[in-house]
């Protein structure tokens, strides 16, 4: 491989050339995917905006889609990456922003190749929307911390090697100031992962009990008491994630219900027709909005519409799946399977309308409730004044719980 030019001077065509050079060297037909990805990481083509040697080339972030699209065009898209969503989407940018050189060297590459799965130990039973109220305690003893508490809504915890974790290290200061951010080894003693069953019957998520889990101070990410700021980086990356690919008209749940309408003239009534058309229109509006945001991102001008996309997605899923059951009538009164299982992911197309209805109820809660998203839009986008706060200047230990 030739010597790389400084990343900032890279443009799209130079990157396409690098991809072409790379795939000329590594034939995925004969290379194991993990080895292929390790080589891609080393070539700086994992995340082009990361520094050289850490998966990137120091190139503009907006150019990453060029690389992904080029690999895809050449037929080299990695598969089976669903379990890496937290590692790739949330842990990696946070480690990059706050990790020590040792931490970046240790974690980024196996995270990228898929060798190590990550999960997120953030939410607690008493700290959902109000994440900063978290009560999991971390007490320092010499070079290590002892952590105890309960986390919930942890997807992948049962498969994860590491977790990003926020814990309270100082209960005597206001809640946002006493939090520290750690990397937690999920195989450590005292980590107890239990399946958390949902209203659909299955368990996508876990509860994680931490019982005097020892975390070396070298696994602290960012300064002591700086955890809230570090977590903001993580969460911002959660909300920003929007696919690079245009979605086709009539994708997602509206497609299933539209197909049902087409195939089952016996289910049609004028009232259902009107409702279907309204939702079809709303779904198309949401799709175009996402497409517009994607076009903005592509020219490096992300808009605040990102915070709204998730909200529209959950509202539509809920209304469409509700209509689907109404349309089906008698058939809508049945369910496919209540068995307690651990699914690999959420695959709406393979499940029954009852599952669509129930599972979509979680969409407006997971990853930031609709209520919190509305607050964010009102305050950060529209600049409306915040409500009177009673919890900002009080020591965490004195807050009502």
């Amino acid at each position: 491989m030739t010597t790389a030019p400084a990343g900032a001077s890279l443009d799209a065509s130079a990157l396409r050339q690098r991809v072409a050079d790379f795939v000329a060297e590594y034939d995925p037909e004969t290379t194991d995917q993990r080895d292929f990805l390790a080589a891609r990481f080393d070539a700086g083509l994992a995340w082009v905006h990361f520094p050289e040697g850490e998966g990137g080339l120091g190139a503009p972030r907006a150019l990453q889609p060029v690389v992904d699209e080029e690999f895809e065009r050449l037929g080299y898209t990695p598969v089976g990456r669903e379990g890496l969503v937290i590692g790739l989407g949330m842990a990696a940018p946070t480690i990059l922003a706050f990790g020590t050189p040792e931490q970046r060297a240790r974690y980024l590459k196996p995270l990228y190749t898929g060798e190590e799965i990550w999960c997120q130990l953030f939410s607690e039973p008493g700290a959902g929307s109000d994440l900063a109220a978290l009560g999991t305690r971390a007490v320092r003893e010499g070079d290590a911390w002892t952590v105890s508490g309960q986390k919930v809504w942890t997807s992948l915890a049962h498969r994860a090697r590491f977790a990003i974790l926020v814990a309270r290290t100082d209960p005597d200061v206001p809640k946002h100031k006493g939090i520290t951010y750690f990397i937690c080894d999920m195989s450590a003693e005292g980590v107890d992962v239990r399946a958390l069953r949902q209203i659909t019957g299955e368990a996508e998520f876990n509860e994680v009990y931490l019982n005097d889990v020892r975390i070396p101070d070298s696994q602290r990410l960012g300064g002591e008491g700086e955890g809230w700021r570090v977590a903001q980086t993580t969460l911002m990356n959660e909300r920003v994630s929007i696919g690079g690919h245009p979605e086709p008209r009539e994708g997602g749940l509206i497609s299933l219900v539209s197909q049902l309408w087409r195939e089952r003239p016996d289910l049609r009534t004028p009232g259902l027709h009107d409702q279907l058309l309204r939702l079809w229109v709303d779904a198309e509006a949401a799709r175009l909005t996402k497409e517009r945001l994607r076009q903005q991102l592509a020219i490096g001008q992300p808009g605040p519409e990102g915070s709204a996309a998730k909200y529209s997605f959950s509202r539509l899923n809920q209304e469409i799946s509700g209509l689907e059951l109404e349309m089906l009538g008698a058939e809508g009164m049945t369910y496919d399977d209540w068995t307690f299982r651990r699914p690999e992911g959420v695959e709406f197309t393979k499940r029954s309308p009852g599952f669509h209805y129930l599972r979509s109820k979680g969409n407006s809660i997971e990853g930031g409730t609709t209520e919190i998203l509305r607050n964010i839009i009102a305050e950060r986008v529209l600049g409306l004044p915040s409500e009177p706060r009673t919890d900002k200047d009080v020591a965490w230990k004195d807050l009502p719980k």
Binding site: A133, E326, A330, G332, D336, L358, T369, T390, L399, K401
Partner: protein, 380 residues
């Protein structure tokens, strides 16, 4: 447009009945125990049903001579509210509402069965799909020939535990209602969305049926059973909505986020206020539907039938969405905990959504109303 002025309040007797049912359910079948039962193959709580029968719940509209309470459907509606509020897994709808109404309308031919149902010694159901709307016409899925019944009916409520089946069937002599011992039928459970109310497919392969009503009488009996069912289902839906509202208000008072109870946030307040308004309106609509349905069995009530059907359709068109909305808002405002299996909230959500499809969707009932109140559909 003229209509009778109906009593929309609860009488003292009705409030007493409510109190006994509620206290029995709180004692023997709180939502947490219902949740614990739902994975049994036979969710229906027959022991609880016998206790409810002891306080008269199984035979409210049945005359006292036949061991019933000789009450009106207004009392049945109060019971339905409480059973909804407790998602009680008992065969009230199939046995005490649908089968009982159909048999009551069949005159004296079924006094023995009525007596057994009213006393809680046996339970029954009406063999129609639970989704069937009152105005759907007489079903032809089961055919009668020489007293033998053949046919399959899917999604029958409370059939799994029924002893007696009341089967609408069509034979050479036209529509008829037949009484069939459940042992003569094949009853196969289906996986139902509503965990607390099992549905089943009923298959009849030459079962011997005793005809209890024929022709127009059979048609009227079936229609009255379904109209009554729709009215009382709305009462159950009101109970579901009331539970969801109450549980969420309680939760909003105690759940603290950002240093204050979530119920002190104005957006939460306004949503709960809206829900309370809807539930209040649902109460008036349900009382109206129950009172109108009660007139169906008054002597010479022919002229009241239209009013009963209008009120039942109104109730289904209005209360279905209130119950669903209440359960959905309850889940959202409970946040994560409401999405877990371990919290009983999902039982109410599943009941609410399933009830919205039962005995005709709101959409079907709006269409039925349009014919009744002279708001015709556009001609194509």
């Amino acid at each position: 447009m003229s209509e009778k002025r109906l009593d929309l309040l609860y009488s003292e007797v009705e409030e007493e009945l409510r109190a006994s049912v509620r206290s029995l359910l709180e004692d023997k079948s709180p939502p947490e125990s219902v949740l614990a039962r739902v994975e049994d193959d036979r969710i229906t709580d027959t022991a609880l049903w016998k206790e409810l029968a002891e306080i008269g719940v199984a035979g409210l509209p049945v005359s006292e001579e036949l061991g019933g309470a000789g009450a009106s459907l207004r009392e049945s509606a109060v019971v339905a509210e409480e059973l909804g509020r407790g998602v009680a897994p008992v065969p009230f709808m199939g046995s005490a509402v649908l089968a009982t109404t159909a048999l009551l309308e069949s005159g004296d031919a079924a006094t023995q069965e009525l007596e057994a149902l009213a006393g809680g010694e046996s339970t029954g159901t009406l063999v129609v799909g639970f989704a069937r709307a009152p105005g759907s016409g007489f079903p032809e899925a089961v055919q009668e020939n020489g007293g033998k019944l053949r046919g399959n009916v899917g999604g029958v409520v409370d059939a799994l535990t029924a002893d007696v089946l009341v089967v609408p069937a069509v034979g050479d002599s036209g529509p008829g209602l037949y009484v069939v011992p459940a042992s003569e039928a094949t009853v196969t459970p289906v996986v139902s969305l509503d965990l607390t109310r099992p549905l089943a497919d009923v298959s009849l392969e030459g079962a011997a049926g005793r005809r209890v009503a024929s022709g127009a009488d059979a048609e009227r009996a079936l229609r009255h059973a379904l109209v009554t069912g729709a009215a009382l289902l709305s009462a159950e839906q009101l109970g579901v909505a009331q539970w969801a509202l109450d549980a969420t208000v309680d939760y909003a008072k105690t759940r603290t986020q950002f240093g204050r109870p979530i119920g002190s946030f104005q957006a939460v307040k306004h949503r709960l206020a809206d829900l309370w308004i809807s539930v209040s309106q649902a109460r008036a609509v349900v009382r109206s539907a129950a009172s109108a349905a009660a007139t169906l069995r008054e002597p010479g009530a022919g002229a009241e039938a239209a009013e009963a059907e209008i009120n039942a359709s109104l109730a289904q068109a209005f209360v279905s969405s209130v119950a669903v909305k209440a359960a959905e808002e309850a889940l959202q405002l409970h946040g994560g905990i409401g999405f877990t299996w371990e919290h009983p909230l999902h039982l109410f959500l599943k009941r609410a959504k399933s009830d919205a499809l039962a005995l005709g969707t709101a959409d079907r009932h709006r269409l039925a109303l349009s014919g009744r109140v002279d708001l015709p559909a556009p001609s194509a």
